[in-house]
Symmetry: C2
Subunit: 231 residues, 2 copies
């Protein structure tokens, strides 16, 4: 049962975090929460200027003294100890192919959901590698690729009125030490539990489940997440 909380002996409080695609809603939301937890956060974007602007806005919006800096994606990938990939699915592979060098040896956290939308709503896109996370693992064989943060609502992450976030983050990966660190990173967001969710070959359905949660959001007018019961 102790497995359900932060893994023992995993202290990530001194780690810096980079968020690639850090000017998007999901990226800014995660960056905000990690910065509020005390991490130095490097926002990455194709344009360093846009990243700097987004970083300044995040800092200005908080009463607390938080440390968020803007860089281009390569600079952020090099600067962060843990690198979160929150870019749009279009361009995901090309971006990572350009960053193999700065991401070498690092924990990479893919939180990309390959989804399409039509008049009937959201649906999962087919991915040749199986999932965004497996694509990242193929492109980055020398990085420690994990998958996590798929179901976290950007609106909730950015809402100053939401202090605790009511969901679990499923963390997938092959490397136990890496998934333990990412579980600990998830638990830097108040209310969140980081739960080991399986190997990367089972990442597709976790990414795709976001389509179901969007369907839930539309039906119930909410920002749905999931909790794992039995822990």
């Amino acid at each position: 049962m102790s497995e359900a909380s932060t893994p023992e002996n995993v202290d990530i409080s001194g780690r810096t975090v980079a968020v690639l695609g850090g000017t998007g809603d999901q990226g800014r939301g995660l960056a905000r929460r990690f910065a509020l937890a005390g991490h130095t956060v490097y926002l990455g974007s194709r344009s360093a200027e846009r990243a700097e602007k987004a970083a300044r806005e995040l800092v200005a919006a908080e009463d607390a003294d938080i440390d968020v800096r803007g860089l281009d994606n390569a600079g952020a990938a090099g600067a962060g100890d843990i690198v979160v990939v929150a870019v749009p699915w279009e361009g995901h592979k090309e971006l990572l192919e350009a960053l193999t060098e700065p991401l070498r040896g690092k924990i990479v956290v893919d939180c990309v959901n390959p989804l399409g939308f039509d008049k009937r709503g959201p649906y999962a896109l087919p991915v040749a590698e199986g999932s965004a996370a497996e694509q990242a693992a193929q492109v980055l064989p020398e990085s420690r690729v994990t998958a996590a943060f798929h179901h976290v609502s950007a609106v909730v992450l950015l809402d100053p009125g939401v202090e605790t976030v009511d969901l679990d983050v499923l963390v997938l990966g092959e490397d136990r030490a890496a998934t333990d660190e990412v579980r600990a990173l998830a638990e830097r967001i108040p209310g969140v539990r980081g739960v080991f969710g399986g190997r990367l070959r089972n990442a597709h359905q976790v990414e795709a489940l976001t389509a179901n949660l969007i369907a839930v959001n539309r039906r119930y007018k909410t920002h749905a997440g999931i909790r794992v019961t039995g822990l």
Copy 2:
């Protein structure tokens, strides 16, 4: 918010329920819970004798007076108002192809998870139609096919020590009235919420997520389920 509880004006208390594959653990577990809620339940099996034996055992195990009867799968499909498909993935299509006539016009609830297992654990099998539920919908165009009950642990359902079951059942389908009835059926199990989870084209990931929950079970020594937060 009222959407999160049983849909208003949906009263399924007089409906009979058939469970195809009713002699398996999942089938017996669901049958037991529906019978305890007051439904007449028809267990279906390839062998009517095996179904009768399983039905007698379920009745004998309860102090309460429950009504469970065994039939062959075709007999059960004809007898139930709502028909739950809890057969193994192998043979799923062939079974349903043989039952198009008795299932015509009925609500069919597919709860089959196409999974494989190897030494690295569970994984989702590819399905030509996209998912077991979509296969059922293709084979049964004149039935009202829904998908639900994927994540319910058979061990928990069969455990007389577990009075309330701590999870939500995602109910998927195209037919609002049918998914509302299946949500109400899910809520006949104490503790369970039936939550609309999207269209059938988004059933694959709900079925496949069972592989992740099995990975959670192995890591945390539990019987994991999920709850949807934000409702």
